[in-house]
């Protein structure tokens, strides 16, 4: 049971980095990819509406963490307050920007960009902290800064590959020049693999097996997750099949 719980935790966390990382990276690249208003709207449309289906992987990660490893979750989160506060704030600002961008395109655009950068840099600091010998303390500033920049670059590369697959027109050309030939497919596969492995490497260092929840709690949570998992994945596939095609104009506005 513990092992399955740990695998589920890793699966959701890695899934978030691959999927969420792509739209966060694209969010960071918005000023580069979109320089005129129409280009900007097209680039923002690349984030819509998949970010909604991508960020839930992180929500699920946190849920599995508190449900299956509650004591460790508290120890880690309270130890990393200074990392998690900017991470959550960046996430909120980014989402608010994406939603409000439909009413106020300029403000929404910049909130999305600032939020995406804050989020990616905070992830860098968090990963750096997890990789030290004391994962429940923030990584020292020098190490944190270097790792943050490296991880931010990784998000950028991943986002660039995603943009080359997702966008069209001038923003697409800009992304393709950087992401390389093959319409971005190759570099995206590579960055996806890195984005999948990185959180697993960082998370594997946590003392998960020593801090699992009781058998009763795991017997409630783990089977429920396993039963619902195929449905969750089906919903994801459905959403990507419906809205995952190359975007050629501004996001279809519901409001």
């Amino acid at each position: 049971m513990e092992l399955i719980a740990a695998l589920l935790l890793g699966f959701f966390f890695a899934g978030y980095f691959v999927l969420g990382g792509a739209d966060i990276g694209l969010g960071m690249l918005l000023p580069y990819l979109g320089r005129e208003e129409s280009e900007r709207q097209l680039a923002v449309a690349g984030v819509w509406p998949v970010f909604l289906a991508n960020e839930v992987w992180l929500v699920a990660t946190a849920g599995v963490f508190i449900g299956c490893f509650p004591a460790l979750e508290g120890e880690l989160f309270s130890g990393l307050v200074l990392v998690l506060v900017p991470l959550l704030a960046g996430w909120m600002i980014r989402d608010a920007g994406l939603w409000w961008g439909r009413q106020a395109p300029r403000a929404g655009f910049w909130l999305t960009v600032v939020g995406s950068w804050t989020l990616a840099l905070s992830w860098g600091w968090l990963i750096a902290s997890l990789l030290t010998d004391t994962p429940t303390e923030p990584a020292p500033p020098a190490l944190g800064a270097v790792t943050s920049l490296a991880i931010a670059l990784l998000f950028l590369a991943h986002g660039m590959g995603f943009a080359a697959l997702r966008l069209s027109g001038v923003p697409f050309e800009r992304a393709r020049q950087v992401a390389g030939r093959g319409a971005g497919g190759n570099s995206f596969a590579l960055t996806s693999a890195v984005m999948f492995v990185l959180p697993l490497l960082a998370g594997a260092r946590l003392p998960l097996s020593d801090s699992a929840a009781s058998d009763t709690a795991l017997r409630l949570v783990v089977p429920a997750l396993l039963v619902i998992l195929p449905l969750l994945l089906a919903g994801q596939v459905w959403l990507w099949r419906t809205f995952g095609r190359r975007v050629e104009g501004p996001a279809p506005a519901y409001f």
């Binding site: 839930v56 979750e73 506060v85 996001a251 409001f255």
Partner: protein, 426 residues
Amino acid sequence: MDAETLDLARWQFALTAGGHFLFVSLTLGLATILAVLQTRATLRGGQPVHTRMVRFWGQLYVINYAIGIVTGLVMEFQFGLAWAGLGHYAGDVFGASLALETVLAFFVESTFLALWMLGWDRFNKWVHLAVLWVVTLTAYLSAYWILVTNGFLNQPEGHRVTEDGTLELGDTGAMLTNSSALLAFGHIAAAALLTGALFMAGVSAYHLFRRRTDDSDGFYRRSLRIGVYAALPALFVTVTFGGMQEENIGEWQPMKLAVFEDNSEEIARLQAEMTERFGPGDYVPPEALTQGAGMLMMAVFGLITIPLLISAVLAAFRRAVSRFRVWHVVLMALVPLPYVAMIAGWVFREAGRQPWVVYGLLRTEDAVSEVSTTQMWVSVGVFVPLFALLIVVNWWLLLRWARRGYTEPRRPPEDSRPEPVAVATY
């Protein structure tokens, strides 16, 4: 743990959870009305007014839902950030329901919300309707899991004490059917419907009051009636579940009831009894706050009931619905009241159980994380202004769109729309 960190953590939780609750109240109620509206629109495909109603109220629903999600993201992390002691002591029990909330409810809810709001021209109308029902039902499921968590904290059942003195889940069934959770679920679900219904009635009344819009198809008249006739039963269900909780509180948290009734003899007796049981300490919750919040909730109930009963009569007359402008103003004035009652009821429930975070088992002061005061200040300094901003902008947008009334949806440019299916003709 120093007192300032504890106070900050409490303020942060109160303001962010309260802020989030403001969004949930409207979302949950509007979702239900919307699902029924769209079902009717789908069944009677011929009447465009029904579809336009789903679009208009759906728009307001999505605006509010969106920022509700954004504020909800933080809540889940806050237990670990600020209340690690609680996770350490009782996380085995209440963590399970939080985990199930995120995966069984929220994961599905958010994915399907995206499918619904942008799926208007993409799906078969029955599929599109089913998607909205999934969003609505998972929203209720989400509320259920959160109240299972909260119910356990108010009325711990289904746990057992381990060798090292912490709690673990013992009886899953007892945890899932905790009466404090179930009664609160009924109470809050109905109150949310009341919030959504009065919002709908109030916004419709605004448009009828202004007489600027042509209401020949009865768009706002119908909406006003739906709002009034949904609010009335919702109010009575809310009150019924509220009353049913009294006995429960008397059994599990007699101190809360004694404070509410301002019964000083009983308070003194319970204080002595609890001192004997749990050792020296102050077992009386903040009296003014608990009592004031409870009273306020009751008073607001009274303020809503009488106008709502009269409204139910007036709504039967078409001329009154279209022309009775004084009544329109009253309906507009009712919109904020359910929010006041919601927050007051929640303060009564949560302040009234102090000093306990897990009733009778863990004190709030022992649940707070081992973080420095500076760190807690950083956290409060970031989240509280951010929540305030989100709430203010959300309401500004909500009111702006509500005032604008129904407008035809903006269409994506021709070339990005899905290809029409070629029909073979002979």
